[in-house]
Symmetry: C2
């Protein structure tokens, strides 16, 4: 089934100990969509400036990503610049220029209103909710990402939006901040009372945890010899997770467990190369092979 | 098969947000032995002062732990005191009084020299090596723990001792410090060149990773609702790991994977109560049930 992704499409400047790029296609929705596109057709709702060219369009089209909802307006696209330290565990943001993204009002084209899998990327909670109001059919699964900024600045709006979603996909710090609870299991119970019935906690190099009222599932990060650029890993994880579920068409314990693994697979590939590079060259065969390696990494027989 | 444990037996004063104890049986070898005793007969080599009473002896004997190698000398036993912060992720050491432990020279009684599974707890590397010299039969498996103090202060001695052991059981910081390599997979390859053929990396609330030249195995930490006292979790992990292997009597990929799970099971129980409390009340049935919960926590079907 097709998957709708709402969020940022941007240009990034990235510097890591392994290299430097001055301007590359980035943004959470780009990573999400490119990752998810390996599983299912993806539709993007985002805004870009007139610096977004045929070259970037071709990247998305090359992955059969629907750009009917990509609004292009005069001005510059969202620009982000960051630098990682030697160990890749700290990131210094050098620039965040919202540009046309500051005026983003998500608009669903007619061809999107039947979307049954929806992922609301990290934008203002009111705008996330406005997307749901434009959908005409009851979606099978609505996922949402958010960040410390919205948790601090717009708590009431975020609480309202959370009432309408199924899966919250955030990191451990955000989980703790949103709930005021350090223990992640107890934090999950607080989040269930806010609306979502599934919490997916992204823990970077420590893997990811899914908490459902009926079961828990934990997946470690894949032990990689080389991490070249962590940018977009969390968004690629979410893309693999939602993309797999949309392709399965069913959300149950079995598919949720697999979705966590495919999310981890996509995240692990992403960090092996700069920016979106690895996501573009990835094959279905490589994805399956790494999913099997995750199985060998974690399986045991009592 | 029987397991020999060398290390510290101490008295601890512990304070966490959940409570406070002024004086409780502690020390790495105590946690290790009590955890391992749920799987296999354990023999301790340690030193205590004359404050070590019939009460503490009874605790070990209650778990059928062999104390023939527990040397008692005039003076006070090793004393450690620490306090944890609200989130249990930081520990402040308030006191470390080595007392009789400062003069520890491990001596194996005649009844121990045939030990086939040996764990060299975190003591001076020369003393660890001296234990191996007293063993008469070639051991099936020798494990070793160490810490930043020995990595910094006695690097040459540690390198020499590492040549003679099979499994190094340390945490991620120690792995990085010992190898000068941040990436844990690459760090493991450096450690293999030092002697050990298996590296077990303890990552606390993030689980544990086993690296073998032929395979990798990762186990997440068990998501607990209540962590009352993290003291001894890493030692109980090592005890569960080595204890299970000694009980299996074989060291191969299958038993190593299970050993990681049983190590995690013992570590997870330990932190649920203060000090060694939970380790004393634990039943084989509870251990098996939690191992099955680990299986449900991590299993998926592609």
């Amino acid at each position: 089934m097709s998957l709708l992704a709402v969020g940022s499409v941007a240009f990034d400047a990235i510097e890591t100990p392994f290299g430097k790029v001055e301007r590359t296609l980035g943004g959470a929705a780009s990573y999400f969509a490119l990752a998810a596109s390996h599983f299912t057709p993806v539709r993007i709702v985002a805004i870009v400036g007139d610096d977004f060219s045929a070259k970037e369009r071709a990247i998305f089209r090359g992955r059969r990503i629907d750009l009917a909802g990509l609004e292009q307006v005069p001005g510059k696209s969202f620009f982000w610049s960051g630098r990682y330290n030697q160990n890749m565990n700290e990131r210094l943001t050098l620039a965040t220029e919202l540009n046309v993204f500051a005026g983003f009002q998500p608009k669903l084209p007619e061809s999107y209103v039947d979307s049954s899998f929806i992922f609301l990327g990290n934008i203002q909670p009111n705008l996330q909710l406005s997307v749901l109001k434009q959908v005409r059919r009851k979606p099978a699964l609505i996922g949402l990402d958010t960040m410390n900024y919205w948790i601090e600045r717009t708590p009431a709006d975020l609480r309202e939006t959370l009432k309408h979603i199924h899966v919250l996909v955030i990191n451990d710090d955000e989980t703790r901040q949103l709930t005021g609870e350090h223990n992640l299991t107890r934090a999950a119970h607080k989040i269930f009372k806010m609306g979502p019935r599934i919490l997916v906690i992204k823990r970077g190099e420590h893997g990811a945890l899914l908490v459902h009222s009926k079961f828990l599932f934990a997946v470690p990060a894949f032990p990689l010899e080389e991490v070249r650029d962590p940018t977009g890993a969390g968004d690629a994880f979410a893309g693999g997770f939602m993309g797999y579920l949309a392709s399965a068409g069913r959300v149950n314990e079995k598919t949720l467990r697999c979705a966590m693994v495919y999310g981890s697979v996509l995240g692990s590939f992403t960090v092996e190369r700069f920016g979106i590079e690895r996501l573009l060259k990835l094959t279905r065969k490589e994805i399956s092979a790494r999913a099997r390696r995750f199985s060998r990494l974690t399986s045991f027989q009592l």
